[in-house]
Amino acid sequence: MRDDFLHRLLRALEEGRPVVTATLLPEGSQALILPLEPDAGEGAPGWDPVEGGSLLDEARKALLEDRSASITSEVGTVFLRPYNPPVRLVVVGAVHITAPLAQMAGAAGIEVHVVDPRTAFATAERFPGVHVLDRWPAEALEELQPDHRTAVVTLTHDAKLDDPALRAALASPAFYVGALGSTRTHAKRVKRLREDGVSEEDIGRIRAPVGVDIGARTPAEIAVAILAELVAHLRRAEAS
């Protein structure tokens, strides 16, 4: 193999694009596939599996399951190796729960982004090792572009901040969308989102009250509940 193939792979990884390498075994021809992008089919090799879907389908599956796979094609065995962008958590609101949540998510290897336009709250000093954006949520999410490896959690209790973030998250393929607030708070929120034209299906994607019900009381315990639910969504989606 020539190293230019790996230059292309590294560039795609650095750009945070989900990518799959396909290798024809044992001969060693390789192809770079970006199966989640609109023009994915262009330039993909014709190594379709003998049975079942296309090479592109299999590459997409490898990415979504985050697992390597081998398929049998007419030209031989094709090894598919997925490279996913890091799992990201976007937390809207630099509040009391945010610090332990960011810390625990970081320990689990998740890249954390905290969004809060109230600059007194969102300072880098309060959240070491975390990307802090003192921007309005809609703007920040437009920039962050949530993908299938992104979770979005709103914690502010302020409709001005939470609602636009939820609308943006629901319009994206984010794998987990959670909103802090009681059942009653959530009912009011659902009413507002419905009036804004958000579909019932999308509203159903919101986890609220956020987190697994473990009777959490302190900010750190609530963070545990949220992180547990997030991991369950991520891993079960991969497994199913």
Binding site: M1, R2, D3, D4, L6, H7, L9, L10, L13, E14, T23, L25, P26, E27, G28, R67, S68, S70, F79, R81, P82, Y83, N84, P85, P86, G109
Partner: protein, 113 residues
């Protein structure tokens, strides 16, 4: 192998080829039974520097290194079957009790103008 490992290995590899040196890349492409590393794990063999990453932490790595030598000497890419059930270097059969297939290929610097 996590994302940071992947990025680290690729950067070292490209640094090596960027300096005009060849290296060999080993990738676990199939596993059966209990193996120390998952499918997709990579190891880099750099003649002038040694190894980056591991496909087995000692278990069966000798076969892979032999194959790396062959591909670096100009041989075709190979799929090596490593049987860890008979690895005399493995102290605990419970740790490495399976077999794995490792694809070994040479990576050449692109000819730059």
């Amino acid at each position: 192998m996590n994302r940071q490992d992947d990025l680290g290995l690729l950067r070292v590899l490209l640094e090596v080829t960027g300096a005009g040196e060849r290296c060999a890349l080993a990738t676990v492409v199939h596993t059966r039974g209990s193996t120390p590393r998952k499918t997709g794990t990579k190891m880099l063999v750099i003649p002038s520097r040694g190894l980056v990453g591991t496909v087995g932490g000692g278990c069966g790595e000798a076969e892979v290194l032999d194959a790396a030598r062959r591909v670096l000497a100009g041989g075709r890419p190979e799929v090596v079957t490593v049987d860890l059930t008979r690895d005399i270097l493995s102290w605990s059969p419970a740790v490495c009790g399976g077999t794995m297939e490792v694809f070994v290929e040479a990576v050449h610097p692109r000819i730059r103008p």
